[in-house]
Amino acid sequence: MTNSTPAGSPPRHTTSVKSHLQRLLRMNEAVVFLVVVAVFIALSLLSPHFLTEQNMRTLAIGLAAEGIIVVGMTLALASGGFDLSVGSVMGLAAIITASFYTGGVDIWIAALLGLLVGAVVGSINGWLISRVKINPFITTLGMMTVARGLIYVITDGSSIPVSSAPEAFRALGTGAVFGIPIIVIVFAVIAIAGDLLMRRSAFARKVLYIGSNAKAAALSGIRVPVVQFNVYLIVGVLAAIAGILSLARFGTATPSMGAGAEMRVISAAIIGGASITGGAGTVLGSVLGLLLLSLISNALVLLNVSVNWQSAISGAILIVAVAIDTVSKRRPRRRIAPPHPSSTPPTASSEPAQSPLVR
C-alpha cells in the first residue's frame, strides 16, 4: 500500500499545522503581504519622513482612486479578460461631470451623469466582448483610445476647474472623518465589499469558472455572456467613481487624468496573484500589489531618487513577481494517493475494489 508520509516524519497533527502554514504561504497574498511588510519596515528605518501621519495620508489618498479601479480589474482578469479603457473612462467621467457642472447642472446630478458615462462605456465593452465576441484586448484598446479622444474633443485640450463646486462635493476628495480621508474610506468600503463578494458570491464564482474554462462554464449552464457583460459594466462604473472622486480631490478635470492607470492597475493585480489567462485573483491580493507599487514610488521620493526611475522599477517588480509565481508553480506534478488508509473517504462497499493509486 501507499504511504505518502515518509518514515520518521512528525506525528500527523504537527504535519497538519505545517501544511496549514504551507497553504497560507502558498497563497499569493501572503507572499505579497510579507514583501509589503518588509518594504514598510525598511522604509521606516531608512527615512524619518516615512512613518509620519502626513506621509501615510498622502500614500493612502494617492492609492485610493486606482485602488477602486483595481477591484474591477481583478474581476475582469479573473474572467479571463481585462479592461484597458479604465484610465480613459476615469478621465472621461471626470470631464463629463466637470463640463456639466460648468454648464450649470447641479454638481451631484453632473456626478451621476459621469457615473452613467462609465456605465455606458462599460456596457459597450461588455456587449462587444460577450455578444459580438471581439477579444477584450482589441475592444478595450479601442475604447481606451475612443474615450481619451472624446476627452480632447470635449475639452479641446484644456482643464476644466470645478473649484467653485459646493464644499460637500469637494469634501469627497479632500475631507476627512475622524482624521481618515473620505476618499480613502470610500476605497476601503469598495475594496472590502469587493473582496468579500469575490470570495463568497455566486456571481464572482461564475466569473472565476469562466476564466478557468469558458466552454465548460457554458456547458455547466452558466450564462457566460450575461456574466461577462456585468463584469465590464462593473469595471466601467468603478472607473467612473474613481474619476469623480479624483475630480473632487484635485478640483479640476485635466485631459490627461487617468492616463496610464490601466497598466499600473493590471500590474498591481498580477503582482497580487491574478492571472492574465483568467481563473485566479483576489481583491486583497490586487490591493496589496497596488500598495507595493505605491510604497516603491513613495520610497523613491523619500530617498531622493529621481522619479524617472519609478516606471522602470515598477516594471521590474511586475516581471519578478510573475517569474517567482511561474517558477514556484513549476513543481513536478503531484500524484496524490490518499494520505493514510484511514483517511480515505467512506465508499460504497459493493463496488469493485480499485487501485489505490489515484492517478
Binding site: A202, Y209, A216, L219, P352, Q354, L357, R359
Partner: protein, 513 residues
C-alpha cells in the same frame, strides 16, 4: 491456460511468429517519490506480433511504455532488445535501438508541411539550410508505405486525422524499426480512420515489426491482437493468447476480482414519457428527428462519426440553435433558448470532451462538482462553502469517487474519476432527463463497469437517460432502445432484442434501407 509468473517461460505464441523475442522486460520498477508506479513490469514481445497491454489507469502501462521508449529511466529491472541488454538514457537511444512510440495525443504543427512534421527535430540539414529535397523524398517513402494520398509538401493541418497519424507513425518508425508502441491510438479516431490504422498495423506486422497496442477497448484487443498482457497495480498479472481467453476473463484479471457480466441488466420496467422530441432540425445539420425517452430507460444514440448524434443532443438542450421542431418534458412544452434554460427545466447534457469543455482543470474537485448549482448554494447571491461541500459529499460515496480531499485539484484524478465528478455535477443539478455524450471515453475498464452500473441504477430510480457513444458494444450492452442516426436524420429505432451491433451498423451505414 498458461499462467506462469515469468513471461519468458510462456510458450504460447501467435501462429505467425516463431522467432526469439524482440523485446523482453523483466522486473522493471519505477517510483515517483513515495508512489510506486511500477513494481514488477514484465513484457515479452515477439517479432511480427501485435501485443496488447491492458489494465486500469494506474496499473503502470504508461510508465512501462515510457521506460520502453526511453523517456523514463527504470529504478530496477532488465530490458533486452533482440537479445542484447539495453540501457536507454533518452528517447533517441530507444529509437536507435528500433523502438518507436505513437502517442495518444497527436502532436502536429498544423501550419508547416507534412515532411517537416515528420522530421521535426531531426530535419536533414547541410551548410546553407534544410535539405528539402532529401526530406521530401524520405517523407514520400513513408506516405507510400502507408498508402496515404497526400503530398509531403501539403500543409499538415489540412490532412484527415488518419493521415496525421501517419505522420506520427513515421516519426516513431526509424528505418531499422523493430517495435512500435501504440498508446490508445483510436480514442480520437472515427470508425473508418480506426480501420485504416488497423490496416497499417497489419502492414507493420507483415514486415515482421512487432506492435505493442495499448487500449481500453477490449473489442479492438480481441479483433486485432495476438496476445494480451494484463497489468494491475504496477505489476504483471498474466500474458495470454487472445483466442484462448474471453473479455470477461481479461476484465476479471484487470480488476482483480470476479465481475458479474460486462454490462448490467436491462430495464425491467419503464415509466411515462419524460422527453418527447418532434420534427427537430438544427443549424448544425440535424434534420427532422423525432424520438422520446421514458423514465427508467436508457436510450442509446448511435451512428457514425458526423451522423449528428451529438448535434441532436446539443440541439435539444439549446447548445446548438434549433431551426424547427417542438419538444415536451413530462407533457409540458419545452422550448429553451439557452442551455441555462434547458438545465433549469431539468434537461441536462454532459459534454463528450471532458478535458476541453467539461472540466475546469485548474480548479478543485469541489468547484467542479458544484459548477451547475452555484445559484442554489446559499441565499442572496452568496455561495456557502459548507453547503457546497455537503452537496458534493453526497455523491462522493455513492459514485465511488477515489479522492483524498474535495479541495484537491481535479487534474490529480484519473480519467474515470474525473468522469464520475462530471456525472456528479449533473446529478447535483437534479435532472429529470440526463443526456450523456460519450460517458466512458478514454477511461479504464473498471471505471467503465462502475459507470455503466451507476447509469442503470439511476435509470431504475426513475431517471430518463440518453447515452451517446461511438463504442458499439457499449451502446448494445447498455441501451434499452437505440436511435441510430445517419447524415443528420434518424435512420431507425431498435427496441429490446433488435438491439445488436449488426443491426446498428446496417442502419448507420444505410445498408438496411
Amino acid at each position: 491456460m498458461n499462467e506462469q509468473r515469468d513471461p519468458d517461460a510462456d510458450n504460447s505464441r501467435a501462429d505467425s511468429v516463431t522467432d526469439t523475442p524482440v523485446l523482453v522486460a523483466r522486473g522493471i520498477e519505477k517510483r515517483f517519490g513515495a508512489t510506486i508506479a511500477l513494481s514488477n513490469g514484465c513484457l515479452e514481445v515477439l517479432p511480427g506480433e501485435v501485443h496488447a497491454i491492458v489494465g486500469e489507469n494506474g496499473a503502470g502501462k504508461s510508465t512501462l511504455m515510457n521506460i520502453l521508449s526511453g523517456s523514463l529511466a527504470p529504478d530496477a529491472g532488465e530490458l533486452w532488445i533482440g537479445g542484447t541488454r539495453a540501457l536507454f538514457s533518452s528517447v533517441n537511444d530507444a529509437v536507435a535501438a528500433g523502438i518507436g512510440i505513437v502517442h495518444q495525443e497527436l502532436a502536429i504543427c498544423p501550419d508547416i508541411s507534412v515532411a517537416e512534421n515528420m522530421f521535426l527535430g531531426r530535419v536533414p540539414t547541410a551548410v546553407g539550410g534544410i535539405k528539402f529535397r532529401t526530406m521530401d523524398a524520405e517523407a514520400q517513402r513513408y506516405l507510400t508505405m502507408f498508402s496515404a494520398t497526400c503530398s509531403p509538401r501539403d500543409r499538415a493541418g489540412d490532412l484527415t486525422i488518419g493521415e496525421q497519424q501517419v505522420i506520427e507513425i513515421a516519426r516513431a518508425v526509424s528505418s531499422d524499426c523493430r517495435v512500435v508502441i501504440f498508446d490508445e491510438p483510436t480514442s480520437s479516431l472515427s470508425e473508418t480512420e480506426s480501420a485504416a490504422l488497423f490496416a497499417l498495423i497489419a502492414d507493420l506486422k507483415s514486415r515482421g515489426i512487432a506492435c505493442i497496442y495499448i487500449s481500453h477497448r477490449l473489442s479492438e484487443v480481441f479483433d486485432h491482437c495476438d496476445r494480451v498482457t494484463v497489468m494491475r497495480d504496477g505489476g504483471w498479472v498474466r500474458t495470454i493468447r487472445t483466442r484462448d481467453t474471453s473479455p470477461t476473463e481479461v476484465v476479471t484479471a484487470m480488476v482483480g476480482q470476479e465481475i458479474a457480466g460486462l454490462y448490467p441488466d436491462k430495464a425491467s420496467q419503464v415509466g411515462e414519457v419524460a422527453l418527447e422530441v418532434t420534427g427537430l432540425s438544427s443549424a448544425a445539420g440535424v434534420t427532422d428527428v423525432s424520438f422520446a425517452v421514458r423514465t427508467g430507460e436508457i436510450l442509446g444514440l448511435s451512428g457514425l462519426v458526423g451522423s449528428g448524434r451529438s448535434e441532436l443532443a446539443r440541439a435539444v438542450v439549446s447548445v446548438d440553435k434549433r431551426t424547427e421542431g417542438s419538444m415536451r418534458v413530462f407533457g409540458e412544452a419545452f422550448a429553451p433558448t439557452t442551455f441555462h434554460e434547458a438545465v433549469r427545466a431539468g434537461v441536462c447534457y454532459m459534454t463528450e470532451d471532458r478535458k476541453r469543455d467539461g472540466l475546469f482543470l485548474e480548479r478543485s474537485i469541489l468547484d467542479n462538482s458544484v459548477a451547475a448549482i452555484l445559484d442554489r448554494l446559499g441565499g442572496a447571491g452568496f455561495v456557502s462553502e459548507k453547503r457546497a461541500r455537503a452537496a458534493a459529499e453526497e455523491f462522493v460515496g455513492p459514485l465511488n469517487i477515489k479522492l483524498a480531499d474535495l479541495a484537491q485539484s481535479i487534474s490529480d484524478l484519473s480519467g474515470g474519476n474525473q468522469q464520475k465528478v462530471m456525472i456528479a455535477k449533473w446529478l447535483l443539478a437534479q435532472p429529470r432527463v440526463l443526456i450523456l455524450d460519450e460517458p466512458t471515453r478514454g477511461i479504464d475498464v473498471g471505471a467503465k463497469y462502475e459507470i455503466h452500473r451507476l447509469l442503470r441504477a439511476l435509470a431504475d430510480s426513475g431517471l430518463a437517460i440518453v447515452v451517446i457513444s461511438s463504442e458499439l458494444p457499449e451502446i448494445v450492452g447498455l441501451s434499452d432502445r437505440v436511435l441510430v442516426m445517419r447524415e443528420g436524420e434518424a435512420a431507425g429505432l431498435l427496441v429490446g432484442a433488435e438491439v445488436d451491433e449488426s443491426s446498428i451498423v446496417a442502419l448507420a451505414s444505410g445498408a438496411a434501407a
